[in-house]
Amino acid sequence: MSVIILAQPFDPWQTLAEYQQKMPHLDGKYGATAVFLGTMRDFNEGNNVSQMFLEHYSGMTEKHLEKICTQATEDYALLETLVIHRVGEINPNDPIVLVAVWSSHRKEAFEACREIMEDLKSRAPFWKKEQLNSGEDRWVEKNTKGY
């Protein structure tokens, strides 16, 4: 299980491939991998967004992401989980969050990936500040519902 907070851009697919190669306990055991990748849009709530700043509560963020992954691992008998989340300055098309889970069967992989992502959205202490094309900036007040 890994939780990584990154202040620099990352290549999600390369990172995922490298991570999986370092997990020998998956060899021959995993039948399903589910991945969610969230990227930055250039629009939100009717405005054009040019850049975003992501703040987090160092320590609490990692603690709660680890709790969320531990719970999902227990509930869905996962073989491995990986969560990567960006902080700092983010530009349109940049990956913001990667959630990957490995399990024996697809049902558990699909459901656990979704659940980790929704729990992250509602409990992990991150905050987005958007820079609009107009030059104004604003805090995002709440996340949209995922279900």
Binding site: E55, M60, I96, A124, P125, W127, W139, E141, N143
Partner: protein, 81 residues
């Protein structure tokens, strides 16, 4: 020892920077709950209804007792992902 108080995102804009409340102030002000810590730091500023509170990095409600050495944080609804 002291109580560390942190504000994040729009709560920092509203209240100001992180601060440390020393034990003497705590005793004089009889700070005992997270609500009291907010009131002490925010003075007359109204608390937004949706503010979230953490003590030692766990979510709590405002009635939670705060002790010397604790870290108390106030922040708006989270918007990661």
């Amino acid at each position: 020892m002291a109580i560390q108080v942190k504000f994040f995102a729009s709560m920092r804009d509203l209240i100001g920077d992180d601060r440390e409340l020393d034990a003497d102030i705590v005793q004089q002000q009889t700070l005992i709950t997270a609500d009291d810590v907010w009131n002490y730091c925010a003075q007359d500023k109204l608390r937004p209804a949706n503010v979230l509170i953490a003590v030692n990095m766990d979510y709590v409600d405002g009635q939670t007792e705060v002790k010397d050495g604790d870290e108390v944080a106030f922040f708006p609804p989270v918007t990661g992902g």
